[in-house]
């Protein structure tokens, strides 16, 4: 065997493997999704699944998706992700805050799999990407509508867990309600669950008992809007359009629109240009949207709400623009200053005027 042959053999092998690689590339890209709740919750997990279906529609045979619903944080999540990675999944979207530690642990063991984590903050592996939506922009708009429309000056707020995401939503809604109605008062009930219809219904009733005539929720079930419809008060839907559950009471809903981001990222993975990023998209990028405004909203309020949506989208207005003080009266943002993202993502305090306190 001469030198030429020696060189040719590996070259041939290389050529074969390249061919094999090309053939392999025609296999569909496998994308896995992990949800915290059931896909039928009509809230958070439902919107992620809508986006998954949009992905299937968009890519056709080029992408194969799978999902696992109602996955608990911790050992369960780690097992599901490991299983997905082992069975050849190329890309995993885990769609809840608490999956962070599990995802990073799994990502370190599977460097060739692309991981995408919604609403997370932990990025300890080079293949973990973060994405989140600026829901506080939506909450500013519904806060404005609520401030204008409440007659008892009491707004009920059903909150899930005292994490920055939820606290910033409460603050955003409150600031904008107070801006148009200085007497407005927010009552917050923490249910310590993302999805528990019976508990959320009981919370809605407790808030009504305290005089609330408009409900907001940062939990995923449709129970609060259903109760509102039942009792003839107003409510805002969460994550998806919940009008069908409460045709008269549902003023609007803040929509989670994930499909464009998912399609963009999966395309990048197919093209081989995917790399870990960290985005926080809002109304402007279309990740935060609104359900149709109910006719019960007076014409002028509707115009103001639409105007606010436009100004936030164009970047002209930031919902957290100073002067804003913390609840204890100390200054948080000076006149004209806008909130840095870091402050918002670590928010653990109420703004001035809120009653009650953020639980530990």
């Amino acid at each position: 065997m001469n030198r030429r042959h020696l060189l040719a053999a590996p070259a041939l092998a290389l050529g074969l493997s390249a061919l094999g690689g090309a053939a392999f590339a025609q296999d569909p890209l496998k994308v896995g999704f992990i949800y915290i709740g059931p896909v039928g919750d009509h809230g958070w997990s439902y919107t992620h699944d809508l986006a998954r279906r949009a992905v299937e529609e968009h890519f056709g045979d080029a992408v194969e998706t799978s999902f696992v619903e109602s996955v608990a944080y911790g050992a369960d999540a780690e097992r599901v992700m490991t299983q997905m990675a082992l069975s050849g999944t190329d890309m995993i979207f885990a769609t809840s805050f608490g999956y962070g530690p599990d995802m990073n642990a799994v990502a370190q063991r599977f460097p060739d799999v692309a991981f995408e984590h919604a609403t997370g903050y932990i990025q300890e592996a080079p293949n973990v990407s973060l994405y989140n939506a600026r829901f506080y922009e939506g909450r500013a708009v519904i806060g404005h509508i609520a401030g204008k429309m409440t007659e008892t000056n009491t707004v009920g707020y059903i909150a899930s867990f005292p994490i920055p995401e939820v606290v910033m939503g409460i603050n955003s809604a409150y600031l904008h309600a107070k801006a148009v109605n200085p007497d407005v008062n927010f009552r917050v009930v923490w249910v310590y669950s993302w999805y528990d219809p019976a508990q959320e219904a009981a919370a809605a009733e407790a808030l009504m008992e305290q005089g609330a005539d408009i409900l907001m929720q940062h939990t995923d079930s449709t129970a609060p809007v259903t109760i509102a419809q039942d009792r003839g008060i107003y409510a805002f839907g969460q994550a998806s359009d919940m009008t069908s559950f409460a045709p008269e009471s549902h003023l609007t809903a803040i929509l989670d629109v994930w499909a464009p981001y998912y399609i963009e990222r999966i395309q990048a993975r197919i093209d081989g240009t995917w790399e870990a990023g960290n985005v926080w998209h809002g109304i402007e990028e279309g990740m935060v949207g609104f359900a149709a405004l109910n006719d019960a909203i007076p014409e002028d309020v509707r115009a103001e709400a639409e105007d606010m949506i436009e100004r936030i989208a164009s970047g002209e207005y930031h919902p957290f623009t100073g002067p804003i003080n913390r609840q204890d009266g100390t200054e948080w943002l000076a006149e004209g200053e806008t909130a840095p993202d870091g402050d918002l993502l670590g928010m653990d305090f109420y703004v001035e005027g809120m009653s009650g306190s953020v639980p530990n």
Partner: protein, 310 residues
Amino acid sequence: MDLSSINPVVLAAALMVAATPILLAAIGELVAEKAGVLNLGVEGMMITGAVTGFAVAVMTRNPYLGMLAALCGGAAVSLIFALLTQVLMANQVASGLALTLFGLGFSALLGQGFVGIPPPRTPKMDLGFLSDLPVLGPILFRHDPMVYVSIALVAAVWYWLNHTRGGRILRAVGENHEAAHALGYRVRRVRILAIAFGGACAGLGGAYLSLIRVPQWTEGMTAGAGWIALALVVFASWRPWRALLGAYLFGGIIVLQLNLQAAGVRIPVEYLAMSPYLVTILVLVVMSSGRARKTLAAPGSLGRPFHATG
């Protein structure tokens, strides 16, 4: 603490409503366990009842037909468990867990066409002058009929277990199935009937959630109520009236802490919100230790398979 803004009358009334689904499921499970069957599938039977009850109520526009369907639905899935554990001698714990998983998935499938549809209303009872009584009226006499059905059921189960021949046979089967068998009682038949009764009650509890408590159907809407009902049976040491007390206690904690929060009372809500689940875990842990089971007066043959020989 300013508690003046909480109306105790409204609170007491809300407590009864919050407790009813877990009470219904617990009383059914109590009967099954008294017969010596540990069915961990309560959650699965509840959610099946929730969806069948909802579907039938929507199609017939009659909530009571829905309740009836929920009874049948819950009993029907419980018969799967009965087949596995009583006929095929499968492990009860594993079969029960499987039933829960099956129920959650199956109900999601059945319920697909029913999301976002309002169910027909279940009217509140008007008990004439009783409903107009001050304080007592709103607390006790202005509920939907199912609240009273659940209390009547507790009384009936208590009477039946302690004062009738059938009840004594059922308890004998649960305490010592070998002896009951030697006396000529049909252990397997008694157990299958007890399982079906448990399933029917759980189904009714589920339908209470989907037709009255929340009124809507969404996947997984029982959200752990079945597990609380299971713990409640042990908490009540297998006595019907204690189950009622326990259910109202659990319901009371849930409603009270939400109302305290809404009223702006500064309380450590995280602990109160956790408490029903902590008690549940504690009770389940205690239940799994042999010695504690004895002191709690658990039925002697609870969870043990029975196979008639000779």
